[in-house]
């Protein structure tokens, strides 16, 4: 089993590739890997409960950890109570933790 951290920085309302990236997370999880999706910048727009957040909730139910950068959430006035099920606010420190631990950290 490998460990992956997928940093998602793109707004799903602007980029169809954002959805493809979540499919990659699902595939990696289905192959038995440990996967975290870290939403940052406009990537957190998917974290607000909406039509675009269903994919994140679905991923979470499959065992993918879904984190959203607290700073990016504050910048966009997205409050914790507005987050979709399965999404947890997090500090960016987690990404540094994962780099230091030798996980595969990928940016999109």
């Amino acid at each position: 089993m490998k460990q992956y951290t997928l940093i998602a920085s793109r707004d799903p309302f602007e980029s169809r590739q954002a959805g493809r990236y979540l499919e990659l997370a699902a595939d990696l999880k289905a192959e038995g890997n440990e996967v975290t999706v870290f939403l940052v910048q406009n990537g957190v727009m998917a974290a607000r409960r909406s039509g675009a957040s269903a994919a994140l909730t679905d991923l979470s139910e499959k065992g993918v950890e879904i984190l959203a950068d607290s700073f990016s959430l504050r910048e966009r006035s997205i409050r914790s109570r507005a987050l979709a099920d399965g999404v947890t606010p997090s500090e960016l420190d987690v990404v540094v933790d994962h780099l230091a631990a030798g996980r595969n950290v990928i940016w999109h």
Partner: protein, 135 residues
């Protein structure tokens, strides 16, 4: 033993939130005393350009001091100092070809020229590497 991480960035200054996020990551690692390599590629080679100048804001009637416009070279210098103060280091490498292409040869003290080969070596020696592309 100190942790080693490598981060490669490509965006030029004043252009994209990716730069802010990348520098936030470097800041976190610097405060932990990590040994960090930053490979500034393409437009990012101008982040440490020493002749960046803060400017006034004529529209709002503010002079340069009042405007206090941020310049990335100061952020780069601050990151180097933060790492050193915490027992770590930042090896900030500006891609030499990228620097020459843009005429940004004068970089802040503590940074250096390098090649993509340096990125590979740093990645080989690091616990983790993150490449932040421009698209």
């Amino acid at each position: 033993m100190s942790k080693k991480i490598t981060i490669s960035i490509m965006d030029g200054p004043f252009e994209n939130a990716r730069t802010v996020t990348a520098l936030r990551l470097v800041d976190i690692a610097a405060r932990r005393g990590y040994d960090i390599t930053v490979f500034a590629y393409e437009g990012a080679a101008a982040l440490a350009f020493a002749r960046q100048m803060p400017h006034a804001n004529a529209v709002h009637g503010r002079d340069a001091d009042e405007e206090d416009h941020p310049v990335p070279r100061e952020w780069v210098a601050s990151l180097l100092a933060t790492a050193k103060a915490n027992g770590g280091s930042v090896d900030w490498i500006n891609c030499g070809l990228c620097v020459d292409e843009r005429g940004v040869n004068e970089a802040v003290e503590g940074t250096r020229r390098g090649t993509p080969g340096d990125l590979w070596k740093a990645a080989e020696a690091s616990d983790g590497t993150l490449v932040i592309g421009s698209k």
